[in-house]
Symmetry: C2
Subunit: 261 residues, 2 copies
Amino acid sequence: MDDPVDASSSRKIPAGWVSSRPRAERARQLADALRHQIITGRFADGVLPDERGLGSRFGASRNAVREALALLRQEGLITRRRGVGTTVVLPKYGHGLDRLAGLAETLTGYGTVTNEVRLAETVAELPAAIAERLAVPAGSGGVHLERLRWLDGLPLSLDSSYLTADAGRGVLAGDLAGRDVFTLIEETTGCLLGRAEVAIHAVTADPDTAELLRIPAGAAVFALERLTRLSDGRPVDVESIRIRADRMALHAVLHRGGQPW
Amino acid sequence: MDDPVDASSSRKIPAGWVSSRPRAERARQLADALRHQIITGRFADGVLPDERGLGSRFGASRNAVREALALLRQEGLITRRRGVGTTVVLPKYGHGLDRLAGLAETLTGYGTVTNEVRLAETVAELPAAIAERLAVPAGSGGVHLERLRWLDGLPLSLDSSYLTADAGRGVLAGDLAGRDVFTLIEETTGCLLGRAEVAIHAVTADPDTAELLRIPAGAAVFALERLTRLSDGRPVDVESIRIRADRMALHAVLHRGGQPW
């Protein structure tokens, strides 16, 4: 591993003398710029210019372009085929962090979310750590759901939920294959949801998750931990969600003054 | 790859008959619960109970515990050493998505953020895609910064910024090694920042980024694209940020009604 001071001073050496680092950096920066253009729909027909065209568009060498495209291909964002060129695999869907919404609500207009219900059952005793987060006594029962969520034939996320017995009972009787759990909770409890605390992690997919989400093991996925409360503040739903990071980005608008909560 | 319908129906088969899937799922769920306890500081001395202790705590088999710990070790969250046991590598720092803040501001109280300035220069011509995002005419000049950001000897993120010439000029003269760019922009322009639009991606680290951040190539990192505006709405700063996902989580509080923006 380079000493950081060496790395920092290396930029004073003429470019031709330096081995791979500057080109790798250039490729990374180019990949960032290209990713942004892809995600914002700049290549409306899904076809990228050829290497020469991209090079002149970004003022980059052909090698840097090639390395940048390799990075984006590794992320699952583009494919490259001889004779066809470089094409965008699929658009990335944006999941807003500005309000609490289920996946089907979020993706309204993009397609139909369907859920493969892998598990939907009452549990006699919630795991102790879950009971604590749900603020119910140790040993309380509840409901456990696991759903693989598909958008138009593509698995997007794997959601594991523990619900309190109160909220879960009605949800179990609802249309778990076709609906968001959030709307089912609101309908069956007659209470609106209030807020949720979300922690967002990025991890590499273990083989089991990868197989379910149909991505290579070791691909990056979002791991969301979400605790959702009714409008009276009572927690009802603890979720662990794995989201395909090649197909979803999370969006937020942050204000310098902060929000009044 | 399993057909999803098969996967769904497999839970009707007695557990002993099923090969690896249920145990892998149990391990994943256990890893989720453990990760939450680690991150919320439940193991205050940084030492986890032994496998037997964890098994009885979570009602899980020894094998599931072992697999869960392997997943968390792969994430860089824990180490396991014979004779020492399982220890938390370091706490994960939380970066709130509730307000726009620089890293040093966010981590006040955790330690001192220092920045290895790898690049700080005026550029005669901003890349076309950057000029467009900054809403300046094609061919405009600006400032390019790249900083590796350290917290107490640990590299946390690699930030590449393009600033408008106006905002960048003063920032270049500021204390780039010790300060957040946000506070430098506010001081040197005399304008407060307003809001930023952030897109959060999860990607695997390319070898160049991995070497700089001192993580294994292929580890999961956050890739943030952030466009920051002055309070009058004028964009001043486009950033691409790679954040070590083994050391940082992003936190948000979401409201069902949404925020009034």
